[in-house]
Structure formats: structure tokens, C-alpha cells
Amino acid sequence: MASRPRTLYEKIWDAHVVETRDDGTALIYIDRHLVHEVTSPQAFEALKVAGRPVRRPELTLAVPDHNLPTTPRLDAAGKPVPIVDVESAAQLAALEVNAPAFGIRYIPATAKEQGIVHVVGPEQGFSLPGTTIVCGDSHTACHGGLGALAFGIGTSEVEHVLATQTLLLQQSRPMEVRVDGDIGPGISAKDLILHIIGRIGAAGGSGYVIEYRGAVFQRMTVEERLTVCNMSIEAGARAGLIAPDDITFAYLKGRPMAPKGAEWDAAVAYWRTLHTDEGAVFAKSVTINAADVEPSVTWGTSPEDVVAIGGRVPSPEDFADEAKRVAAQKSLDYMGLTPGMAMTDVSIENVFIGSCTNSRIEDLRAAAAILKGRRKADNVRWAIVVPGSGLVKAMAEEEGLDRIFTEAGFEWREPGCSACLGMNPDKVPPGERCASTSNRNFVGRQGPGARTHLVSPAMAAAAAVTGRLADVRALV
């Protein structure tokens, strides 16, 4: 099997093939499954109806995140605060009942380990290099930052994994995105991935699994790699990954669910084999010049609508294909922008720092570094910071970051998906703009009529301080 040089993706795939079918699909073993409240109730219900058990409950971890309000969860007497929205409360209650009923480890909303599934998985050492990781959430691609093959699935597949610990899959094609050289100071992993999506397009990775290669990724911290891989889905790729290395191993060592003792050594020895072989062939290769990457912002309603902060709102006529021209015009109408306008002239009423893309401790530190000793502009009406987990929150408080945020006029919240998607109480009002560290600028994503500009944590902080989209490098 090892005679032909293989990509990292092919190695992980090969290690998980239970059997191959005549029609070319493969039964792939799933090592780790994350479950949250929104995409699981119908799966548990189907198991119940069919009388099917969960095959390997210890390989699934359940944690609520999407629906949870980010306001305090315990009252002054230490009792859980009831959730006002009846449907949200019912969905959260369903997970709380379903997980233990099927023998699955459940992290309750009030536990310090609770957080966004994609923050919790790596943090607990549940997500590991070389594993297959799935979740009923497209941003599962995130865990590829540890060198795992991680991807989002639908609810029928959640049921399939619970019942069989496998999925029937067609192999994707390996794609390489290479960035060598150096990225300029003040430019983050988020700016880079936005730039990449702008280059390859929202469907540029469809049918592929992306491996991010080159010196820029090798120098990144694990948290930066998680940010990059997280947004692979916004380029249409089901998964993105970065080969694990000493930086990865140092990050994982000692985490609660990571291997220990002799098993740790065996695991690391195996993980060291997880890299693309010399001579392995990618079906598609894209090379990005690191020097071209600037602080990035989006102007439209697709994550491919990216422009450098020093740039201008494009005109529909700038696009070669007709469908894109139509889409661009619709985006501009929705966003309330006119072609030719400087991005730095776009004023902002809301700032959201959070989401599975940018809510880890390094993200909060980057935003706090800009906000320290400064205050949000008067036209910024609502600014919130939502840590990715209770552990991130505690660490930030220990470092005094919470005070920097609140002194700058931000609200300091409890962990959850928050304003990344308009499903819990955190929403951007219709017609208002938000500088957001989340991953999607879709129509209505942050609430009906909300206008989203995707940015990095430092850029979100810069927008808060200046009251408009701004180049963070001027504030450093």
C-alpha cells in the first residue's frame, strides 16, 4: 500500500477504510463524533424509533452551543437561569436527555468545559491528529488544524455514525494550497484564509480536500491553523488540513482526553508519519504569494467577496461572468454599498468577536492588544466578545482581558455560537452593519437584514475603536 507516494489526506483515508464497495464508495471508520443540540434531535429520534443503540458511545462527545443565550447561566443563588425561547429550551433539553440515554458523555451548559464544539474538541484533546472527525456542522473542517480529517455532515449521517461508527463516502480529490515566504506584521491567519477564499472562490474547493502547505502554515500556532482550516468549507472544500508537527504535539500533550504515558509516545510516533510524501500528486494546486496578503475584509454576501482593507467596493462590471455580475449587484443592494467606495469609509454599528473561527485565547489577546487603553467609537452601539469555551473565558479573565474589553465598551459574555448565526438571542438588527470575526457573511446570517463584514479579531477591534472598517496596522 505504501509503494505509491501519498498525500496526507490519502494516508488518513486509507487508514480508515473498513471496506470498499464495487461502486467505488468506501465504508470509512469515524474516530471522533461531536454532537450539538441543533442537528442531532432528529437523529436520536430515528434511533429510538428503529430501536437502534449507539455503537461506540465513548467516541461521541455532546455539548450545547448554537442555541444557548450568552447571558449568565446561573442566577445569584447559583441556580440555572431558564431559557426563555420555548423552542430553544426544548432543543437543548432534548440533547441533555438524549446524550446520557444513549451513554454519550455530555458537557452541560453550566460546566466550565462547555463551549463551541470546535473549540471544545481540540481543547479537551478529544480531536487528535490522523483521526476522522465529524459533526453535524460544516465548520468541523476546523479540526484539520491538528492534522485530522474533519468534515461536516447532515443529520442522516449523524444517525449513521451513531448507529455504525462509519460513513459511506466517495473519496475527494487532494488539493494543495501553498503559501511560502512571510506574511507581513499585523496580518493574521484570518486575513490569510479570507484572501485564499477570495482567490479560489466559494466553490473553488468543491470536491476536494485542501492541504495547506508551505512555511507560513508550518510557523503557525495550532490556534491559527484551526482558524485557517475552519474556513475551508467557505471555499467549498469539505475538509482542510495541515500536517501535524512538534507544534501540534506540544499543544495536545497533557490535554484531558489525549493519550498518556506509553500510548502518548506511540501516538506521536504514528503522527510523525502523517505528512504528504515526496512526489505525491495533488489534483489541483494553488500557490499564494504571502506578500500579496493584506488585512482582509468582505464587501458582499459570499465569503469569496474579499478585498484588502485598502481597497474599494467593486462594481458588478468588474466581473467577467454574468451570474457573478447579477450576484454582485444583489450583494451590493443588500449590503447598502456603492461601487468605488473605500472600504475604510464603511461605518459600523456592531462588533462581534467570537465564533468557532476566532474565539480562542490568542484571538482574544489579539483583539485586546488593540483595545487596551482605547474605547469603542460612539457610533458603535453594540460590541460583544464571546469566548469559545468556559476554559478560554477563565484564562482570559486570569490575564485581565475581560477588563480591557469591558473598559473599551464591550460586553463580556458566556461561551456559545452567539451572533455567528441568527438563532440565539444575539443578533445584528436589520439594516445594521457588523464587523464580525465569524465565518459567513450570507444574507440574514447574523439576523434578518443584518450586514456582515468578515474580519480578523484585531481588525474587529480596530473597527470598534474607529467606528468604521479600518486598517489595524495604523493602530499598532
Binding site: 444517525e159 500510548e263 444574507v443 434578518p448
Partner: protein
């Protein structure tokens, strides 16, 4: 799931590119614990526009939707497929689909048909005239009353499941022995892989 062999009827000429699953069903509709009734929220934002194709009486109950590139991109929410099914949509024709959404569609008896942009443009024209379009899964063809005939590719396993309305979970559970022996060899060689939450 309902088997799908042949679908004949009017088609909704949406044509839009990058229709994401937040457009198909916004997040506020995802609080349900059921698969039913999501048609009420389907394409809510587009349907708020006067003169939209979904509420045009000419396309009422049309079983086919024609869209642009990258249909179903974004969130993995299967609610998008449930919402489409609730509207009565059984076939979506587009130049490309997101991987996750096309899988979700098939698992709910909805056929994603990939055709080149010029074929999609032609079908949009035919649909706008209110003519019937026929999609035949067995022969993998899309035909119109004007003698247009387009063939499409589909993964044989997906085709088999759609034609017979098969439950994939049941099929895989029948392979329990093969899964069991895979697990046994992993437990022997790399026990840490099998510990999961019990490692803590």
C-alpha cells in the same frame, strides 16, 4: 424515504448562484426537533421579494428547482433538504452543488442533477415558458417538450438508494461484522484511538 424514478413537471427557474443553506432555510427555523413543516420557512428571504418565482402561481407545486453554481453551499443543516421536500421539490438541477448538501438531498429522496451551465441556461428558458421538464433517473436524462435531451452523471450507489428508497443506516448495520473486525484490529494496534471520552 420515498423512492425516486421519474419526475415530470414544471420547474422553478431560480437560476441564482451560490444559494447557501441559510437562504434555503434561515437559522431561526432550525430550533425544531422534527423534520416536518419546514416548507413554511423555505427560501424565506427570497420569498419576501415581490414577484419571486416561488410564489408565482405558474410554479406552484413544481417538483423541480433550477439553480446556479454551488447550490446548497454553507451550513451542513439537513433542514435545508427537509424544507425543500416539504415544498414538494424532488429534483434540483444546477451546474454544481456543495458536497454536504447534495448528500443530504439524496438521503431525503431529492435528486441533485449536475448539468453544464449552457444546459442549465436552456432549461431555465424552458421553465420560464412554463413548459414541463422530465427527469428520468433510470436513464439519467433530462428532457423537454422541445426535444432537448441532456444526460447527467450520478454515483451508482446514490442512484441505487434513490431508485429503491433505501435506508443507508440499515444497509451499513448489516456490515456489522466487518466494522467489528476493523475495530478489533485498531484496539490491538492503537488502543488510544478507541478510548475517546473515556481517556479523561
Amino acid at each position: 424515504m420515498q423512492p425516486l424514478t421519474r419526475v415530470e413537471g414544471r420547474a422553478i427557474p431560480l437560476g441564482l448562484k451560490n444559494v447557501d443553506t441559510d437562504i434555503i432555510i434561515p437559522a431561526k427555523w432550525l430550533k425544531t426537533i422534527s423534520r416536518e413543516g419546514l416548507g413554511a420557512g423555505a427560501f424565506e428571504v427570497l420569498r419576501a421579494e415581490p414577484g419571486n418565482v416561488f410564489d408565482d402561481p405558474a410554479y406552484k407545486g413544481a417538483p423541480i428547482l433550477i439553480a446556479g453554481d454551488n447550490y446548497g453551499c454553507g451550513s451542513s443543516r439537513e433542514h435545508a433538504a427537509w424544507a425543500m421536500l416539504d415544498l414538494g421539490i424532488r429534483v434540483v438541477i444546477a451546474p454544481s452543488f456543495s458536497d454536504i448538501h447534495s448528500g443530504n438531498a439524496v438521503k431525503n429522496g431529492i435528486l441533485p442533477v449536475v448539468l453544464p451551465q449552457d444546459a442549465v441556461d436552456r432549461l431555465l428558458e424552458v421553465a420560464r415558458e412554463g413548459q414541463t421538464i422530465t427527469v428520468d433517473l433510470e436513464s439519467q436524462t433530462v428532457t423537454t417538450p422541445y426535444q432537448d435531451r441532456f444526460t447527467f452523471e450520478i454515483d451508482p450507489f446514490r442512484k441505487h438508494c434513490l431508485l429503491n428508497g433505501l435506508d443507508e443506516v440499515g444497509l451499513t448495520m448489516a456490515r456489522g461484522e466487518a466494522i467489528g473486525s476493523f475495530e478489533a484490529s485498531r484496539t490491538a494496534a492503537q488502543p488510544w484511538l478507541m478510548r475517546g471520552t473515556e481517556a479523561a
